[in-house]
Subunit: 223 residues, 2 copies
Amino acid sequence: MAGTADDTLRKIPSHELTYGRLRDMILFGLLEPGQPVTIQGLIRDLDSGMTPVREAIRRLTAEGALLPQGNRRVAVPQMDGSALEQVAFARLTLEPKLAELALRNLTPALIDQLDEIDSAVDHAIRAGDLPGYLRSNHAFHFALYEAADAPILLDMARSLWLRFGPSLRVVMQRGGAANLPDRHEEALAAMRAGDTAALALAIQNDIQQGIDQIRLAQAQGAV
Amino acid sequence: MAGTADDTLRKIPSHELTYGRLRDMILFGLLEPGQPVTIQGLIRDLDSGMTPVREAIRRLTAEGALLPQGNRRVAVPQMDGSALEQVAFARLTLEPKLAELALRNLTPALIDQLDEIDSAVDHAIRAGDLPGYLRSNHAFHFALYEAADAPILLDMARSLWLRFGPSLRVVMQRGGAANLPDRHEEALAAMRAGDTAALALAIQNDIQQGIDQIRLAQAQGAV
DNA sequence: AGGCAAGAAATTTGATCAAATTCACGAATG
DNA sequence: CATTCGTGAATTTGATCAAATTTCTTGCCT
């Protein structure tokens, strides 16, 4: 048995799979805010059992991705102005810090990999492929943040993106693939130059641009 | 129907109770870092069923209070130097902000209430009552933070205190109730004066003092 | 007589428990 | 030293109970 590459080949337990699927649905704006999330419904939709679904819901509730209604149900939270402010503050503090920490550990190979992901982002923007953009944009940020080797801050960032996810729906509905945030070129240049301050600024701008998009959409009708 | 005071009288579900009990055990340093937390053990210790225990564990894992080992077990995480740095950075950013936000909503009655809690803190310190100190100190901070009306930042602060909890054990073992962090007088004065900057600074100092305690204990033997 | 509202039955959904299955670890054995 | 087997815990399923929402009925008022 010279090949137990256990890291990836180990059988993933059902509750992990279920969690991952539900998380991605929230993360990429597939669930409407306010829409109730029922256990029975998820058992059908995700083709899973009761216990795995319950645990996925509990985890995501603890992460702020779901909000308990008074009556033992949960729903995707609505993002109001106050919530957006809080998320903005936390993201603008945490993520530039993660980028700074990551810079110390970046290898040329990793930078090339990030460059590749950014190409996918560009391609998705030009093609008007919103879901593709969301996925590759997420991949870019977290490939960078994971290099920071700071699991606690990383968890916090993940939680914030989960809270942010449902809001992306408004952007998607407004269609325009134009002026989607993409300061990744600046970020990549800063990485290659080893310029900490420039990298933090690029990430900060990228985040700010995304926040502004949501704020704009919020100010107009689409809650 | 003049009597359904439902807000407080509603029966609390078992999984909530179980979660609360386990959370407090971690929060106040009753569980040793590295110590495995088993489902069966908690069913016995907390006198609960399997489902509630599972859900409590999942929630606390999502909050960073428990760490999954590779083998479908969880344990109270060890706090190394890197983890302490991350928690320190996040706490020093978030909690002064929460205090600032709270200041706008503080009523004289609430300040008096905080003053009362602080008396309990002082009393516990003078009496060398560590568990009492931990509980009232926690109560002081979160009574303040809750006034901020910022549930997202509040959740993040809660999670950070949970990650911090196990480290308190080292402080407790070193016995000295002296130089425990208590900059609450400064904070209360700032609240009464409505001085935002002074309040943020007082909270920041209070946190820094606590972090330094742990860092000191870490530098010496007691992991 | 028609419409509205309060209340009761029925259905849907969540919470909890108990049993069966799968998996990881350690001891015993070759 | 490698392999097998046993033990105990975690995972998962199914069943049962309790709560809440919906629907339907019934009685009252206009």
